[in-house]
């Protein structure tokens, strides 16, 4: 394994670390290679001495996941063991680790953020939909205006040509509105479904990482 292979395996296994911590650790290893090469070792020799990068990375992450294992078990002698047991007892289900706390925090922030976003977005979507319904209603009444004219004529049998022309114009406008409302509803449906899908993906992605 070469230096670059070692470093890239290491880095890919440390993605769970906060970036600044990971960068510092990576710098330590890079410096180690530099000093090793300076003293005449080959990259392979240095890698062999360092050990398996995946295994090392696992220990770095493992140390963070289980802080109570940071002190080797066999050094607990007498009272200290009781302290350790007390500590393990207090934490209950699984230790609170910085990483887990971070994930929990991000997840809480995400949920809160989505809640407030939806507080705005859902009424906005409802407003869009009611605008769509309004346009459709306008189309329907425009197209139905000759019927209304007929009713009007039956009630008051005087023929006003102006009303007839207005009715013809309204039918035309109604047809145009009807055609456009088809696209409007299609667009609204797509928008709503996409927005819903985005919400679900965000939540699920969050759960998977946890």
């Amino acid at each position: 394994m070469t230096k670059n292979e070692f470093l890239s395996v290491m880095e890919s296994h440390l993605t769970a670390l906060p970036p600044e911590e990971r960068d510092e650790l990576m710098d330590d290893y890079k410096a180690h290679f530099a000093f090793g090469l300076q003293s005449g070792k080959t990259e392979e020799e240095i890698v062999t001495e360092l050990g398996d990068p995946a295994e090392l990375a696992k220990e770095v992450l493992g140390d963070r996941a289980e802080p109570k294992n940071e002190q080797p078990l066999y050094w607990f002698y007498g009272q200290e063991q009781k302290q350790a047991q007390g500590y393990a007892g207090q934490t209950g289900q699984g230790p609170e680790t910085p990483l887990r706390r971070r994930i929990a925090w991000v997840s809480a922030a995400l949920h809160t953020g989505l809640f407030f976003l939806n507080l705005v977005m859902i009424p906005l979507l409802i407003a869009f939909w009611s605008a769509g319904v309004g346009i459709a209603a306008g189309a329907a009444s425009g197209i139905l205006s000759p019927v209304l004219l007929l009713l009007d004529y039956l009630k008051d049998p005087v023929f006003y040509p102006a009303k007839a022309f207005a009715s013809v114009a309204l039918v035309g406008i109604g047809i145009l509105l009807l055609l456009s409302s088809r696209y409007i509803f299609k667009g609204l449906l797509k928008l709503t479904l996409n927005y819903r899908g985005w919400n679900v993906r965000l939540m699920k992605g969050n759960v998977n990482r946890d």
């Binding site: 410096a31 001495e49 050990g51 398996d52 990068p53 090392l56 220990e59």
Partner: protein, 108 residues
């Protein structure tokens, strides 16, 4: 996991503390010094050193080196000194106990 790896992992902290106690050392130098005595994956040193710094047992300072990256030296803090002495005492007690147990158990 290999049990001897666990042994070494635990002992490594003690070894590092004692080596830094002797004199301030930088990471690569520490790795060489530890390897003189015990066979250990040197890569495990850096996470350990980071933890020691985080727990306040060590502090670091940078020093330029000729023709290489600056050396990050590790120095024991007063708390580190106390911690080291405590660990050494515990280690001695522990290893004497285990040695006695083994002697009693294996030799008739």
């Amino acid at each position: 996991m290999d049990i001897s790896i666990q042994f070494k992992k635990g002992a490594l902290e003690l070894c590092v503390l004692v080596l830094i106690h002797q004199q301030a050392r930088y990471g690569y130098e520490l790795a060489q010094s530890v390897s003189e005595y015990i066979e250990v994956a040197e890569g495990a040193l850096y996470p350990l050193l980071r933890r020691l710094v985080k727990e306040g047992y060590c502090m670091t300072y940078l020093q330029e080196s000729s023709g290489g990256p600056p050396r990050k030296y590790y120095k024991l803090t007063p708390e580190g000194e106390v911690h080291m002495h405590r660990l050494v005492a515990e280690w001695n007690k522990f290893s004497i106990g285990v040695t006695r147990l083994i002697q009693k158990g294996i030799q008739p």
